[in-house]
């Protein structure tokens, strides 16, 4: 009896030890030539570029991909002990939140100088790497370009009733509303949102769903980011019944951007990565492969994109898009979210 019991216990003990060791063994070590990147930017839009970086510098990048907001919340939760060296965000709001929490370090002036002022932090805590314009995407079978309004205000017209789609849950839509609040003030934004809501737009959880709905003719016009159309057409190898329209009176250009964590022990390597993301090679990748606007001024945007300087409002300083709670309460108060 006893022997059987001891044998059982020994068996279980060895088994558990092996499992524990293998579980712990999976953890990556931290070497001089490795940095850890938390990326809210999608893997398909970043991984090929990081490989090029490793080839050039010999620095390996361990990347944790996830939603921008989730990763920002993770870094806030990790606080001083974050294993991350660099954070790559899909929108300026999350970068602003981490700057505010004092989690980023100041970047060297020569790096910041590469990017025009609106697209970087005023305190020099983060820098934009590529630009993403807010556009109206419309169904080419159901709407003529000439019918579209000159700015977003035109969408509150009664003729757009039940024909518009938006994504109030999406960070880029919320950034757009925050921009409106900064530019026009609280009351005007509230008026615009109320008038829009009265037109009963359909809500989608994200921009890609809007684009699909527009292409399928479920709605006629959607508020979206510009690049989804191009990437989707590239993937499906077809031309969708949808086109981007940039309101001539102006629109918001948000950024994807990066910051270096204050707690990193690898500032030098992290800065090399940032330098690389602002290099001609990376900027070309962002515009040629992912259809975004390069932010380093010497690089020409992809010819399929409408020129960026045709957008008067694009000069809005993105560091100002910090008050996200205000936007959320406004959207919730109006019952939009």
């Amino acid at each position: 009896m006893k022997v059987a019991y001891i044998k059982h216990c020994l068996g279980i003990f060895t088994f558990l030890t092996i499992i524990t060791l293998s579980l712990l063994g999976c953890r990556r070590g931290s070497h001089e030539n490795e940095i850890t990147l938390y990326s809210g930017r999608n893997q398909h839009l970043l991984a090929p570029l990081l490989e090029q970086f490793t080839q050039e510098t010999g620095i390996r990048v361990n990347t944790r991909y996830g939603g921008t907001a989730e990763l920002a919340a993770t870094i806030l939760e990790e606080g001083e002990r974050s294993p991350a060296d660099v954070f790559f965000a899909q929108d300026a709001g999350a970068l602003g939140a981490l700057s505010k929490a004092g989690l980023f370090q100041t970047l060297p002036e020569n790096m910041l100088a590469k990017v025009p002022e609106p697209y970087r932090s005023q305190e020099g805590l983060w820098v934009g790497t590529s630009g993403r314009a807010r556009v109206l995407v419309y169904n080419t079978n159901r709407v003529e370009e000439s019918e579209l309004p000159a700015d977003m205000d035109g969408l509150t017209d009664a003729q757009w009733r039940n024909r518009v789609g938006w994504a109030p849950m999406n960070a880029s839509f919320q950034a757009f509303v925050t921009a409106l609040r900064v530019e026009r003030g609280e009351t005007a934004t509230k008026e615009w949102l109320t008038a829009m809501a009265a037109n009963q737009p359909r809500s989608y959880p994200r921009n890609t769903a809007i684009l699909q709905a527009v292409a399928a003719g479920e709605i006629d016009v959607g508020l979206s980011n510009h690049y989804y159309l191009h990437t989707m057409e590239k993937e499906q190898g077809t031309t969708l019944a949808a086109k981007n329209y940039i309101p001539p009176k102006g629109t918001l250009v948000n950024v994807a951007g990066v910051g270096i964590l204050r707690t990193t022990r690898k500032t030098e390597q992290a800065q090399k990565l940032l330098q690389f993301l602002l290099s001609e090679q990376a900027q070309r990748f962002f515009t040629d492969q992912t259809f975004e606007y390069p932010l380093v001024e010497t690089i020409e945007p992809n010819p399929v994109l409408p020129p960026l300087d045709a957008m008067p409002d694009s000069e809005l300083d993105l560091s100002l898009l910090e008050d996200l709670s205000g936007t959320l309460s406004l959207l919730q108060e109006l019952g939009i979210l």
């Binding site: 009896m1 059987a4 019991y5 059982h8 216990c9 524990t20 293998s22 579980l23 712990l24 999976c26 953890r27 990556r28 850890t36 999608n42 893997q43 398909h44 839009l45 361990n62 990347t63 944790r64 991909y65 996830g66 939603g67 907001a69 989730e70 990763l71 919340a73 993770t74 806030l76 939760e77 606080g79 002990r81 974050s82 294993p83 999350a94 849950m169 960070a171 359909r202 989608y204 959880p205 890609t208 769903a209 684009l211 699909q212 709905a213 003719g217 479920e218 989804y228 990437t231 989707m232 590239k234 993937e235 499906q236 190898g237 996200l324 709670s325 936007t327 959320l328 019952g335 979210l337």
Partner: protein
């Protein structure tokens, strides 16, 4: 032996006595399960003044009403479908019942965001169905958005919980009981109502509870189908403002709602003994001949399979074929598949190991501790994955840096999230074990440990297998915890699917999604096959 050595031995025996070890294990499991709730309390208390405003605004009541309505509807319909399918495949001569029992469980493995996407593509406005009906003059389908769509999607992806649980319950039923009741003059209907149903009640209750909690914690389906419930509200709070305190307050409300649901489930638990007390072994169950009823039965199976499995598979295949020209479709998926399988298998093992002490304690030595441990376990299951993940980020980064972002942490998160799946399956079987067998073994001079390993554990095997299968299949599709807690660079099929759909690369999502379904189908097939060999059916 010196007195000192004797004292030492005595102490050793006291500490390592079976009952004490069991208690310690139960306490540890309860502590693990309560981690997210403790974290939420810490975060919520940071902004006490906000609590009142967040709790009393009219919007909160609306969201509460929506959540309750959806949960009630989904639980009811999933219970009906799950029970019907379990009964048909276990107790009747339904043609091809072995295949049906495996196929009808498969919707369980679909990540709800993929399933909902597929349903939208097929049944949504201008979707495939409308395209097919267009020649017949149908130009508008009833809208799938809102409650109807969320209800349909969640019912289709959760009924297998009830089905698997009821299967286990039906298998343990001794036909002699029904025979005796029939001999005493009860009609078939009376036998069903007075004998079968009371015996199945815990199994149905356990399955329905899992459905209810899944519905409460699901984010993918409700966000795509545009129905505003708590998880969506919590997610918006995180993503829009990164305000963790406000999100924590909302999540605590979800915990409170879970508490209420658990109380209801408690009421379905029968206090009568569930085990056989007769001598000899139970004889094989007889199957009911369906006769002409096999037609509607087959129609039901086909309909459910078509909606829950057929549509998602077809839509995914369609994406895959459409993207074939875009070269970047099937890369090396083996490594990712291995990641998915190993993390899920470890989690299945860990959940069953954690569930064992809790179930034994609660069935054999019920008391305050066992009740607490069981209820704590359910709290984790009702919370959205992001909340549990952030709780472990908080705990890991601050207090366990040597474990943080190791596979260990990920398996711990899976265990918190999915422990109830194993608990329910094990409990259903444990209730059917007659304690007299264990007592007899003790009388014959076996140590408690020996009895446990040679009498109790072997009999629990079907429950352990079902529990492991449920956890395994659910972990394969888990997303938020995998993204935040896995080792950096640890990709799984679910994260692959997510990163592709996130940017609308549907073709790239198709290959991993198909592999996920295939891997799950194979594991499920092995399990059910194994189960059939084990026991007479």
């Amino acid at each position: 032996m010196t007195p000192k050595a004797r004292r030492k031995k005595h102490l050793y025996q006291r500490i390592f006595s079976g009952r004490r070890l069991l208690r310690i294990a139960v306490i540890l499991v309860a502590a693990l399960s309560l981690t997210p709730v403790l974290y939420l309390i810490v975060r919520a208390s940071e902004s006490a003044p906000q609590i009142i405003t967040l709790l009393t605004r009219p919007r909160t009541l609306q969201v509460l009403a929506n959540s309750v309505l959806l949960t009630v509807l989904v639980t009811a319909s999933a219970t009906i479908v799950g029970c019907a399918l379990a009964w048909l495949t276990m107790r009747t001569d339904l043609p091809g019942r072995r295949y049906w029992s495996a196929i009808t469980c498969l919707p369980l493995v679909l990540p709800s965001y993929v399933g909902a996407f597929a349903l939208l593509a097929a049944l949504g406005p201008n979707g495939m169905l409308q395209g097919m009906l267009a020649p017949l003059g149908v130009t508008r389908l009833p809208s799938i958005y809102g409650l109807p769509g969320a209800w349909l999607a969640l019912t289709l992806f959760t009924y297998p919980y009830v089905q698997l649980s009821v299967r286990a319950g039906l298998r343990g039923l001794d036909p002699a009981l029904e025979d005796a009741a029939r001999c005493l003059g009860l009609t078939r209907l009376q036998v069903f109502r007075q004998i079968v149903l009371p015996h199945l009640r815990p199994a149905i209750g356990a399955g329905a509870l899992l459905v209810a909690l899944y519905t409460l914690s699901d984010f993918g389906a409700v966000s795509l189908l545009q129905y505003n419930v708590f998880t969506r509200e919590i997610y918006v709070q995180y993503s829009a403002t990164l305000d963790r305190s406000a999100a924590a307050i909302l999540a605590l409300k979800l915990v409170a709602l879970t508490g209420m649901i658990i109380l209801i489930e408690n009421w379905t638990r029968s206090h009568r003994p569930q085990y056989r007390a007769g001598t000899g072994t139970a004889r094989a169950q007889t199957r009911i001949r369906l006769g002409n009823w096999h037609v509607p039965a087959l129609v039901l199976c086909t309909m459910v399979t078509l909606l829950g499995l057929g549509i998602p598979v077809l839509v995914t295949m369609f994406w895959w074929v459409r993207g074939l020209h875009a070269d970047s479709v099937i890369g090396a998926q083996t490594r990712i598949l291995l990641h998915s399988m190993s993390a899920s298998a470890l989690a299945a093992l860990s959940c069953v190991l954690a569930a064992l002490p809790v179930v034994i304690q609660s069935v054999r030595y019920p008391g305050k501790l066992s009740r607490l441990a069981e209820k704590a376990a359910y709290a984790g299951h009702a919370l959205p994955g992001i909340v549990v993940a952030l709780a472990l980020v908080f705990l890991g980064a601050r207090y366990l840096p040597f474990l943080y972002q190791s596979l260990f942490m990920l398996v711990a998160a899976y265990t918190i999230l999915f422990l109830p799946l194993a608990l329910g399956a094990l409990r259903t079987v444990m209730l059917k074990l007659n304690p007299r067998t264990e007592e007899a073994a003790r009388m014959l001079g076996h140590t408690p440990a020996n009895v446990f390993f040679h009498v109790t554990l072997p009999q629990l095997r079907p429950g352990m297998l079902t529990g492991m299968a449920l956890v395994f299949l659910t972990c394969m599709k888990e997303l938020p915890a995998t993204l935040l807690l896995g080792p950096t660079g640890f990709e799984t099929l679910a994260t692959r699917i997510w990163s592709a759909t996130e940017e609308a690369f549907f073709a790239m999502a198709a290959a991993p999604a198909l592999i996920l379904m295939l891997a799950a189908a194979i594991s499920l097939w092995i399990l059910l096959h194994h189960e059939q060999d084990q026991l007479p059916t």
